[in-house]
């Protein structure tokens, strides 16, 4: 399988490239990246012409489009094994590919929990057969995600886990979290923390404030997140462990992480999700359970702070926290609906709004969605250097996309962005040389 992506604007921060290039792909790898712009390049034969003569070359015209390294999502829920009515590895990776992702890190809250090597192996074998992108499993921090004893980090790592997290269930015991961060130093893998003080969160179902009171919904204060962000940064400082903070949703968390990074004494990285920089708690006003997510949607001032945190580098990554649910689970009582947004297929469009708004440059967007995630999980991706896996995505900045959950590749149609007009959309995803073209 050979392909030529021609005349697109390649943005590859690790190579320092932001210009029109042609990219040769062969055997699932990047063969060559040839810049179009310079006089020297112009002297050489037009690669398109050359390619057209070569049999077996698939030529992809990327004129007027961005060509970027395949996106890496640090935070998805593929739901398999155990919750196949919500999503499967097949449909989840299909949604990822559609959304421009060539790798996804899947959280361990399946049934059974991915807290041992055999579950990790099951996920990876399933992904090898049915996957449309690379699957990088995240193992549980504690057995059964019960927050009682550490899971087998080394055995899970050998099986292919790239990080550890009890996502959805914070490790409330500070001593155990200390041990996790200490023990993880054996492997140089990050511990990903879902920061939520469960007692303070008090089973809240939305952000606490006037709106929660006037809707009669239990509120969770921003402090339930911030206290745990501060705790985990302190523990990272104490232990020297690598801490990655999942789904940052509040201005206070951004400030705490900013201060920690300035002091430079803890090894900490952080992600946020498109919904936290795009919408506020107002989205739940009509009791729309599609806007129920944990941590909850916050206020405009939080949205602004998160955008600023992305701009100034406090927040390293944009992850989706793709959390598909069955329609029947989201239809009904708001209190009883599970939390989560099906996010893989709207992430690029929502992130491109940040570019349109001048919050991020295209280079920064690629850093947040490919380069930094690759660094955090150490999978060697995030660049189109010759020899690298041919994982890339072509984004058409002139093609607007009207979000219609009915068209999602994901089984999860739970999105608060239905009907939104997003400014750009992935049109081609190439994973290990395999070309997916989206209509």
């Amino acid at each position: 399988m050979k392909a030529l992506v021609q005349n697109g604007r390649l943005i590859d921060p690790l190579q320092g490239i932001d210009e029109i290039c042609d990219i040769h792909i062969e055997g699932g790898r990047i063969q060559e990246v040839r810049k179009r712009g310079g006089a020297e390049a112009r002297k050489k034969k037009n690669p398109a012409v050359r390619a057209a003569r070569l049999p077996g070359y698939q030529v992809i015209d990327a004129t007027g489009m961005y060509v970027v390294p395949g996106l890496i999502d640090l935070h998805v829920h593929l739901r398999e094994p155990g919750f196949e009515h919500k999503e499967t590895i097949k449909t989840g990776t299909g949604a990822a590919a559609r959304g421009g992702f060539t790798s996804v890190c899947c959280m361990p809250n399946t049934r059974p929990v991915n807290d041992n090597a055999s579950v990790t192996e099951f996920i990876l074998s399933k992904a090898r057969v049915e996957g449309s992108c690379s699957v990088l499993p995240i193992g549980a921090i504690t057995k059964g995600q019960k927050g009682e004893e550490l899971a087998e980090f080394s055995l899970m790592r050998e099986a292919g886990c790239v990080a550890f997290s009890d996502d959805g269930r914070p490790v409330m015991d500070s001593l155990l979290m200390r041990r996790a961060l200490e023990y993880s130093r054996v492997h140089d893998l990050p511990v990903i923390s879902h920061c939520e003080d469960l007692a303070l969160a008090a089973s809240g179902v939305m952000n606490e404030g006037l709106l929660s009171v006037t809707l009669g919904l239990r509120g969770t204060p921003a402090q339930a997140e911030e206290i745990m962000v501060a705790r985990d940064i302190s523990l990272a400082e104490l232990t020297g462990g690598r801490l990655h903070i999942a789904h940052v949703s509040t201005a206070g968390s951004v400030e705490i992480i900013r201060a920690a990074k300035r002091r430079g004494i803890a090894d900490v990285t952080a992600e946020t999700c498109p919904h936290y920089f795009s919408i506020t708690e107002e989205a739940v006003r009509e009791y729309d359970a599609n806007a129920k997510v944990n941590p909850p949607l916050r206020r405009q001032s939080d949205v602004e702070a998160i955008r600023e945190g992305l701009r100034d580098g406090v927040i390293d990554a944009i992850a989706t926290d793709h959390a598909p649910h069955h329609r029947d689970e989201k239809e009904g009582e708001f209190d009883l609906a599970p939390s989560g947004i099906s996010g893989l297929e709207t992430a690029v469009g929502l992130a491109m709004r940040l570019v349109a708004d001048g919050v991020l440059s295209m280079t920064m967007l690629v850093e947040k969605m490919a380069v930094n995630p690759a660094r955090i999980v150490g999978n060697g991706g995030g660049t189109l250097k010759p020899g690298a896996d041919a994982d890339l995505v072509i984004i058409d900045p002139r093609r607007e996309y009207r979000v219609d959950a009915g068209d999602f590749a994901s089984k999860g149609r739970n999105t608060p962005f239905g009907g939104w007009l997003l400014p750009a959309v992935p049109v081609v995803t190439i994973w290990k040389g395999k070309v997916y073209t989206w209509e």
Partner: protein, 307 residues
């Protein structure tokens, strides 16, 4: 004449004219309730279903009687809370009820927003009989009706609401309704149970009951749920009564002709002393009678919308 909407899900969605119309209509029905023959044929042939997911005697009985006085057929369905989690979905139950030919579905549910979920999905008129900690609109309407009956007006009155504002759907609906009709509203209670965010709605908040009661025209007491003590909202009912119980002595702080209200059922000796509950300021039983007239008005006016 009728309301602009098919449903009554909350006071938040009503404007002043809607409220005035309901109160005026209720006044006519109250006259009918004073007659020997208390039944009118206004909604003959219609069917009312009381769909109660929470136990209730007062509100359910009041709606049932109101519906019967208007000559509708009435069915009571009590769904135990355990089957919410496991059994039939909310939507399926509601559609089933509608398929039985219900014109009015009176719904009470422990989860906020349930009437708002059902209303657009059903052809029947949905009336909120209390949803979680959100609203209890007919209670607020009957409270307004009672205030106006006792004091001749609502605008400009100083109304205090005392107790567990955070969890009280009655308090929420009353705050919205009283503000819409131009009353001044004060909230009194332990800071654990009075969310400061409500100050943004232009109400005053007090933790000191004596100060909060100063020159009040209307005193609305709320029922204190005993389980709030277990959750640490206050240390004991004895201490609660000491700080926020309505006693004869405290009544001296309010206006001489102050009116004492309570949505019931009361915890005597916890939020209200018996001599106050049974005393001359108390209009608690008038509230019950007026509830009937107000609920008749609501059903009648919604029936008008459906034609």
């Amino acid at each position: 004449m009728g309301l602009k909407t098919k449903d009554l899900v909350g006071i938040k969605g009503l404007d002043r004219d809607d409220i005035e119309l309901i109160l005026e209509t209720a006044s006519g029905f109250k006259d009918i309730l004073g007659r020997d023959i208390k039944k009118v044929p206004a909604l003959r042939g219609r069917t009312t279903v009381n769909l109660f997911y929470e136990p209730s005697t007062r509100t359910r009985t009041s709606f049932e009687l109101a519906a019967k006085r208007l000559s509708t057929d009435v069915i009571n369905i009590s769904v135990s809370t355990s089957s919410i989690v496991k059994g039939e979905t909310l939507q399926d139950t509601a559609l089933t009820v509608q398929a039985l030919g219900a014109d009015f579905i009176i719904v009470r549910h422990a989860c906020s927003g349930v009437p708002h979920f059902l209303a657009p999905r059903l052809k029947a008129s949905v009336v909120n009989a209390g949803d979680g900690t959100n609203e209890h609109p007919t209670q607020a309407l009957l409270d307004l009706f009672t205030i106006r009956e006792k004091r001749g007006k609502i605008e400009g009155l100083d109304v205090v609401i005392v107790g567990d504002i955070l969890h009280s759907r009655v308090a929420k609906s009353n705050i919205y309704a009283l503000k819409k009709l131009g009353a001044r509203v004060r909230l009194i209670g332990p800071p654990t149970l009075v969310p400061p965010a409500l100050g943004e709605l232009g109400v005053e908040i007090f933790s000191d009951m004596d100060r909060g009661l100063e020159d009040a025209d209307i005193i609305m007491m709320l029922r204190i749920q005993m389980e709030r003590q277990d959750k640490g909202f206050f240390p004991s009912t004895v201490e609660y009564f000491r700080n926020w119980g309505l006693t004869k002595r405290r009544m001296g702080r309010a206006k001489k002709n102050a009116v004492v209200m309570h949505p019931g059922p009361m915890n005597r000796g916890v939020e209200i002393a018996s001599d106050v509950a049974d005393g001359k300021h108390s209009v608690i039983l008038d509230q019950v009678t007026n509830g009937l007239a107000v609920r008749m008005a609501v059903l009648y006016l919604l029936g008008g919308v459906r034609g």
